[in-house]
Symmetry: C2
Subunit: 281 residues, 2 copies
Amino acid sequence: MELEQLRQLVEVERQGTISAAAEKLHLTQPSLSRSIKRLEADLGQGLFDRTRNRIELNEAGRIAVEHARDVLAAEQRMRDAFDDLARRARTVKVGSIAPAPTWNLTARIVERFPGTILEPDILDEKVIERSLFDRTIDLAITRKPIALPNCECIPLMTESLSLYAPKSSKYAGRRSVSWNDIDGETFLVFEQIGFWREVCEEALPNATAIFQKDREVFIQLLHSSDLLGFTTDAPQNRGSVEGRIPIPIQDASAHATFYLVALKDAPERVSEIVTWIRETT
Amino acid sequence: MELEQLRQLVEVERQGTISAAAEKLHLTQPSLSRSIKRLEADLGQGLFDRTRNRIELNEAGRIAVEHARDVLAAEQRMRDAFDDLARRARTVKVGSIAPAPTWNLTARIVERFPGTILEPDILDEKVIERSLFDRTIDLAITRKPIALPNCECIPLMTESLSLYAPKSSKYAGRRSVSWNDIDGETFLVFEQIGFWREVCEEALPNATAIFQKDREVFIQLLHSSDLLGFTTDAPQNRGSVEGRIPIPIQDASAHATFYLVALKDAPERVSEIVTWIRETT
DNA sequence: AGTAATTACGAGGTACGTAACAATC
DNA sequence: GATTGTTACGTACCTCGTAATTACT
């Protein structure tokens, strides 16, 4: 008994005739007829009531179809498990404290490792190290280097925050601003900005923030409202909104250096990424 | 992917080497090696870590084996279901009010239908007819003919009860006895005697009965004790115990005629038995 | 007539075994 | 040197497709 025969049996049951099933299975009808007979011989009893030009499942046949479906379902689960495994083998999970470095990383990886899928997740600074050690993530992106013997830690990129002011704003002509200058204002803020949110909350204790979860809506609002906003020097942020001018924020806390961290005993596909990044930075 | 390959995979896992597994599977080692490679190709990834002359399951391989076992278990359930079906197709369930007619029937069936398995069950007179109609049993053996249009009912045999007295007993010399003669005595009685038990209880209201469930123990007691017992003229009872003499009981209630009853729309294997019995009685 | 199943026959592909080779214990 | 796994090669078997046959609608 082979799986192919069970697939055939199920198809015959579904189609009602051997002819129709044969067509579906890309077989000739005599071939399928013989194959079914082989299955019956193997099981030791007929599965169909045969009149001269008609077949119909009998009691045994109905039981056979039922069990065949079970066997094939088990086979499918096996294939699914493998698909999942293959997908996981191509996926690298990155936990990052901010979105920009994951964009950077993704851009550099698709260039060198086109088969690899990066699965980014913005995490809190406090949990990111633990996630790396318990292998919930394969790579971590932090603001501070992690100098542990079983970790590989390399600088990845820097990012600087700018005020994103409408041309009509009183800040529009400035070359730069400080936190002090803009504290107390109302800001439109994209919610998924990781640690930058805490930076802003600390630096602008008197500001009002309007958080927007949806990226598309956020961009729309940047266009249509004249509220102050933020942007960074990440290439993905550049030139996206007309009528707004990025004005660098002077303070040190508006500048971040990101580090890429991996465990030294990470899987091959992870460590070769780290190596590649180190060599090309 | 075919079941044969999964069987091979599981065997390789069990044996640890391809060579050993090949031997178990009655294959040459190169053939098995290729077959495993085909499976790996089909699943899209290697299942073994290969050193030059050693193979070891890798992560994917362990998952594969696990799932292969599931698939093969489903296959086994299918085969078991068929074995069960085949067994049921050869089995005829008989509900009888007494054991002797089932012995008679079994003896006659093995002679004519050697493939058929008779599964006898001693049932109470009150439930036997219902069991036939709800098809819990295929054949019924009763004391009274059942004259219903959807039933086939034919006489099967007669059985007569005898006192089974030790030679030392005061009844030993008698040609026959009546219930009256022996009421008040103590009897050793085999428990599985169907309706005879009720016959005795009614005919011997003052008697004491010592029931014995185990057939072997009962025979032993017949040999070793000098309690009165019962036997019948069924061939299977004849000559079984030395030192005891069967003494016919005169009364009408000690004689029974058994009828074989089947539904008219019973399966082929049942009705051909009834036909055979009718023709040869 | 048209459809559906089985049987007969020839061909091609697949998987087998043998043999040779490589490498480890 | 014995064991284990892979590769190469020729062969045999197995299953496929085509064609012919039969029967039912």
